[in-house]
Point group: C2
Chain length 365, copies 2
């Protein structure tokens, strides 16, 4: 193993599977040689390598706690959890704990809990959004139905709280339970604003903060707490997570229309058809002519809007640069996330965390 | 105020509204004279009077925590929460705390959390069961839609955990978070068994334990813990709650077919139309002839089954006494609940708790 990489590996032997490609386990060791050859590896891969040992424990805990004597529970839960998500949020919990160099404490429990909270939200969101696909395969609700998706989501939330309670860390429990309530509140706010042409930029900022950024914030804050951070360190990582989450959602919302180039492809315009008031829409409604506003309004929330209709809307976005402006806004949050780390001592993990932010906003350009 | 009643009032001045009749607050004081005249008052009213002061704090907390800057959240939450439910579960939390005579500790927070957990479950259940009515008025999902019901349910769960975390009592948090997971598991199990003619009595016992009795158990157990119970007291109240919950659900399942007499009325047979494998059905399938089994199987899960079809099924139930046998089983659990209190010193609150059990099973006869 490369000496320069060793420090981020913590106590890892590099042999714990960190993900599966087909039937083959990818271990930290199998990732590392690649990193040696390409020093500027994908930051998410560097994050995976740097958190591999603890993430192996997180993954084992996730499998264990998705278990139930009711067969449908683990079947549905594992279908979603094993479906190739990057596990970015739990990796952040582990990484922000490792960052402080005092061991990871309760980070494994909190990381698994964060992943359960995230997956519970995905199950419920797919029912609410009537989504057919998730991570490139049929959404769980298409296989087991809406009813099971709602109830297994509830089960995962309950299991998440049990894992948190086991740590005995009331402070971290407060952070995560508040996040849980705020996330649901954000989803309701988004629902209330669906198709509402009067939605403001401030409304949108509140929606993405609540539905997305607050879980990133909590994931990093409880990671820092588990890693023995002082108050300043805890606040720095909370801000890092919040701003990373804001940037992440802004990029997602631009990508839904094909990213900066507004290129049409598969699933482009889903948000439009669902009537979601994301920033590209809000900016175009503010700047467009009456005629352009009518074109957007006609397609918003129209489940069967044609690709041509979506294309017309994206043409308006391009006229007012609203995808580029959305990504610029993401860039601003990304800078704030990186700046939040500035007072922390330099370390390889700190550089990975900063690069993960840059990578996240780079997805769409 | 009657001296013999005073002890259960705790520190109450009797002036806190304990429920509303029309526009008129019913206070503990206005209930008490009635109790003097009729010494065998309705035990639930006695429970209300005995918990009035703490329940006023619980109700204030419930209102406070249903608040959100997203208008739809408190509107929907309060529509359900204020819709005339008896608040039996939170009253049990308060009562089981008072029982130990050492103050109620964190019982107010736990009681409000238990009510939020219960209401979150109702919101999700009504979506899963596609119920139109709840507590005599349109279900929240008929007013705000399924999507809002799912998300506000999630919000209430998050708020419930925040209220628990505020107590700092990790032991009680463990009891309630485990209950939350088990309840969801029970709902999934019930869903998986829907319309399954091979469902056994043991399956049914597991469903009602998980979906109903475990929350009664947790409500009483954390009440006892808040009241300073020792291990034996805690276990006694946990068993009391569990057995009361089992009895309660068995009675509900008999009442769904009109109770012991099998009398047809409004909403009779909802469980049959939803394909729910409750004990009256399971017993009839086991004892009935092939022809009778076919009649039941044809109506089970048939959303538009006619009243005549329901009546034919109830006639089969009456032939094999399955409603009476279901209520006998409830009676057995009720006796176990009362027996669980036997080692505790006699007190007025103990007598109320025992009478509440008797009253619960008396609903259907």
């Amino acid at each position: 193993m490369a000496g320069s990489v060793r420090p981020y590996m913590g106590r890892s032997d590099g042999l714990n599977p960190i993900c599966r490609c087909g039937n083959k386990d990818v271990t930290a060791v199998s990732v590392l040689p690649q990193m040696k050859e390409k020093p500027v590896a994908n930051p998410v891969e560097r994050l995976m390598a740097a958190t591999a040992e603890d993430m192996a424990r997180v993954n084992a805990l996730i499998l264990d706690r998705a278990h139930s004597h009711v067969d449908m529970v683990p079947e549905l839960a594992r279908y979603l959890i094993d479906s190739g998500g990057k596990r970015l949020r739990p990796m952040l919990t582990v990484a922000t704990a490792i960052l402080f160099g005092r061991g990871t404490g309760n980070a494994v429990n909190f990381a698994a809990a964060v992943e359960f909270m995230h997956n519970a939200t995905l199950l419920h969101d797919d029912v609410v959004d009537e989504s057919d696909m998730r991570r490139g395969k049929p959404a769980a609700r298409m296989v087991w139905g809406n009813k099971a998706s709602i109830l297994v989501g509830d089960f995962l939330l309950g299991q998440a709280f049990m894992m948190m309670v086991e740590t005995g860390d009331i402070g971290a429990l407060g952070v995560l339970s508040a996040a849980s309530a705020v996330m649901a509140e954000g989803e309701v706010f988004q629902l209330a604003k669906t198709g509402d042409l009067a939605t403001t930029e401030a409304d949108y900022a509140e929606v993405i903060r609540a539905k997305t950024a607050v879980l990133f914030k909590a994931a990093c804050e409880v990671g820092a707490m588990s890693g023995g951070a002082d108050q300043a360190g805890r606040e720095a990582l909370a801000l890092y997570g919040l701003e990373l989450g804001n940037a992440f959602q802004l990029v997602d919302d631009a990508l839904d229309y094909g990213g900066q180039s507004g290129t049409l492809g598969k699933n482009v315009g889903d948000d439009l058809r669902e009537g979601k008031m994301t920033l590209p829409v809000i900016l175009a409604l503010a700047d467009g002519t009456e005629a352009e506003r009518s074109v957007i309004a006609a397609a918003l929330g129209k489940v069967d809007a044609s690709d041509l209709e979506v294309q017309q809307v994206v043409a308006i976005f391009n006229r007012y640069d609203t995808l580029k402006r959305t990504l610029d806004k993401a860039e601003g949050h990304a800078e704030a996330a990186i700046a939040a780390l500035s007072e922390l001592p330099d370390s390889e993990m700190k550089s990975i965390l900063a690069d993960v932010v840059r990578h996240s906003v780079g997805r769409a350009s």
